[in-house]
């Protein structure tokens, strides 16, 4: 019953915003340990409507916010700007600006990054520009501008490649730009080797975007997906198409 006692009297206590804060408060004897359990078990999806501004703000304030998190926030903020509530729309617009600024700074940092080899620098800059394009690119013109810039840097160094993360990023830029023929042509040599899971997944994605299920079947025919280095989620999707 100790936990319920905390819940019934929680207004008398300090109210932590995150489970980590609750844990630290419990360590410092400011809160009972039940506060941590309660907070950790009370996390709700950010996508749940009505959107919780405190949760969104706290998620946005994370110093190590990753690209996937930023994309998720961006999607929610864009939806909020379209909603009727002006205050919430303003909050969303400001948050979007803050998010875009963070990725703009990442690009600047990548530009200034002098250390390392040329290939490493180009990959860093290309990736930052690609991420910025997707985080900040609510309009096609802005998105395409950054994607083309990313493509330029990646193409300079990895244009003749056939595999690897930088090459995959280059192909993704082409796919996002809608240049499917070009992307497919560049994938062909790597695809011929048949040992690169990422190249295969990109080729299948291009065929999917063309809604060409026969090409997908052709690409996946006889392929041992377990033998390829693939992310678990991607393997699941390819298996779905292969079945």
């Amino acid at each position: 019953m100790r936990g319920f006692h905390y819940i019934s009297s929680m207004r008398e206590f300090y109210s932590p915003r995150t489970p980590r804060a609750a844990l630290m408060a419990a360590e410092a004897n400011i809160l009972p340990i039940e506060a941590f359990a309660y907070k950790a078990a009370s996390v709700k999806p950010l996508f749940e409507e009505p959107y919780d501004l405190d949760d969104l703000e706290q998620f946005l304030a994370q110093p190590n916010l990753d690209f996937a998190g930023a994309m998720m926030l961006s999607e929610i903020f864009v939806a909020m700007t379209r909603a009727g509530d002006k205050e919430r729309a303003l909050f969303a617009a400001e948050s979007l600006t803050s998010l875009e600024d963070r990725w703009a700074r990442k690009v600047d940092e990548a530009r200034r990054h002098a250390a390392g080899e040329r290939a490493e620098r180009s990959f860093l800059l290309g990736r930052s520009l690609y991420e910025r394009a997707l985080v900040a690119g609510r309009t096609a013109a802005i998105r395409d501008h950054y994607l083309r810039e990313a493509l330029h840097f990646l193409d300079e160094v990895f244009g003749s490649g056939t595999a690897g993360p930088a090459f995959a990023l280059l192909i993704r830029c082409l796919v996002r730009l809608g240049e499917l023929d070009e992307a497919e042509a560049r994938l062909a040599p790597g695809l011929g080797r048949g040992d690169d899971g990422e190249v295969l997944a990109l080729a299948v994605e291009i065929a999917y975007l063309r809604k060409d299920v026969h090409r997908i079947a052709e690409l996946l025919h006889g392929k041992d997906l377990d033998g390829l280095a693939l992310d678990e989620g991607v393997r699941g999707i390819l298996s779905f198409w292969q079945a």
């Binding site: 844990l23 996508f47 999707i237």
Partner: protein
């Protein structure tokens, strides 16, 4: 610092011998037999105090041996001419030795227990420090784990609460709201960049665009020769992966969709949801099932909206307010009463009259006055709890509140009064506050003979209450003028 037993014993032995060595300087009495105190005993007690009883015992034995042997050894090797009188020495040492042994035991025991307690304390502190370090590491790991779980839960797109929140947004009598809610939910769960909803129009026999997101879409589609028509006619779900399994569907049309679902309003086919473009990584059986669930759940709301449209909105409505009139009110109230008769499910009627409606007409315009009625109806219908109609007089609206009893109707009046008060600065209400008189009545859902009789009595009762309410307002206003 811990000192080993061997080292302590050595130190004790050295200290004891040192006393014997000291005795060599007193050639007449190397055993200190004539002294008032015996240093051999004192040194042993001191050693016992520092190193414990065992070391004290070693010290006193070493002192005795040193005192007994060193003078003779020194004499033998010719270093010193020292003679010791062993008899006198033994005689003199008897009492100090006994006392010394006791003192060594006491001092040694005190020292040993002290050392033991210090040792225990140190061990406890070490154990606490170890546990604290362990707890700190565990906490750090826990915090990281919680952060990760927090991130994963926060990022969940297809959770049940998120689905419920989306479904709730479809709960409306307004068809556009229901359709937009369905499209938004499908887009949220599929991350589609292009999706459309078509409604079947039985008059033209075509599919009409009801909602869209993404690039422009055809406003009208034929039932024959379109993917959407194929889905609607066959009441069949389309999925890109199974494109070869669909007979009678042209390849060109099939490429216009990734997923398409027939949409029903209740049990009857209503339209089609077509997801034209969605990310490769979202196209999987889970997403397909999620959207199928959304479409299934939407059918009940679509049915409600379709029924409302057919029962209410398809009839002539006021040009300014867009609300149906008194005749429609009578018809719908009769249907609602008949639906609940014998089921003990309530239906209530609330008449709302804007006081000073004539003043608004004369001070501003007739249109402004009707706009204030429209605004009042919008405020009242915000939660989709009621159906709004014009009543007998221009200044009056009437609301049917399905499934709400008299108490709920009273609460509705209070909330409406408050909401209208808050909305008063709105242009539609003018700059002055609007006073509203209410009349209400309720049918508890008991058995009835004729629905018309119940409708008549409900209206009569509500009008009676409205009359009383207006009298109270008039009385208050006269009292205000008198003051």
């Amino acid at each position: 610092m811990r000192v080993s037993l061997a080292l302590r014993s050595t130190e004790a032995a050295v200290a004891g011998f040192a006393v014997g060595l000291l005795g060599l300087f007193d050639k007449g009495d190397p055993g200190f037999a004539s002294s008032n105190f015996m240093p051999q005993v004192l040194v042993a007690v001191a050693v016992a105090s520092f190193h414990g009883s065992a070391a004290g015992a070693v010290a006193i034995v070493a002192a005795a041996l040193g005192t007994a042997l060193l003078p003779s050894i020194a004499h033998l090797i010719g270093l010193s001419r020292v003679n010791i009188d062993y008899g006198a020495w033994f005689e003199a040492a008897r009492l100090p030795l006994a006392l010394g042994m006791a003192a060594i035991f006491v001092a040694g025991t005190i020292r040993d227990s002290y050392a033991k307690s210090v040792r225990n304390l140190l061990e406890r502190i070490r154990s606490l420090v170890r546990r604290e370090l362990h707890a700190r590491k565990t906490n750090e790991a826990l915090a990281e784990l919680v952060d990760e779980l927090h991130k994963r839960v926060a990022g969940q797109r297809d959770s049940v609460p998120a689905l419920y929140a989306r479904i709730r947004k479809m709960d409306s009598l307004d068809m556009a709201t229901v359709v937009k809610g369905l499209l938004d939910a499908a887009v949220a769960f599929s991350q589609a960049s292009s999706a459309l909803i078509y409604e079947f129009d039985p008059i033209s026999g075509q599919l009409l665009l009801a909602a869209t997101t993404g690039p422009d879409a055809e406003p009208v589609l034929p039932l024959e020769g379109s993917l959407e028509g194929w889905v609607f006619r066959g009441n069949t779900r389309f999925t890109l992966r199974s494109i070869d399994d669909y007979l009678g569907l042209s390849r060109t049309e099939a490429k216009k969709s990734v997923l398409a679902f027939p949409v029903k309003a209740g049990e009857l086919p209503w339209g089609v949801l077509n997801i034209r473009e969605m990310p490769f990584y979202r196209y999987n059986p889970n997403t397909e099932n999620d959207i199928a669930i959304i479409v299934d759940l939407a059918s009940a709301y679509l049915r409600k909206a379709v029924e409302f449209r057919e029962r209410v909105l398809s009839h002539p409505r006021n040009a300014v307010t867009g609300l149906p009139g008194y005749a429609d009110f009578l018809r719908v109230l009769g249907e609602e009463v008949a639906l609940r008769a014998g089921r003990l499910i309530s239906v209530s009627v609330v008449i709302a009259e804007i006081l000073g409606f004539r003043d608004i007409v004369f001070d501003r315009s007739g249109k402004d006055a009707f706009l204030s009625l429209k605004r009042l109806a919008e405020v009242a219908s915000a939660g989709d709890r009621c159906l709004a109609f014009h009543f007998r007089e221009d200044a009056q609206l009437v609301f049917i509140l399905p499934d709400i009893d008299r108490n709920g109707a009273s609460l509705f009046c209070l909330e409406l009064s408050e909401s209208a008060g808050k909305a008063a600065p709105d242009a539609a209400f003018g700059s002055e506050s609007v006073e509203i008189a209410f009349g209400l009545s309720s049918f508890a859902g008991g058995p009835i003979g004729q629905a018309e009789d119940v409708v008549g009595s409900l209206i009569g009762e509500a009008e009676h209450v409205l009359g009383l309410s207006k009298s109270v307002f008039a009385l208050h206003s006269r009292q205000g003028e008198g003051e």
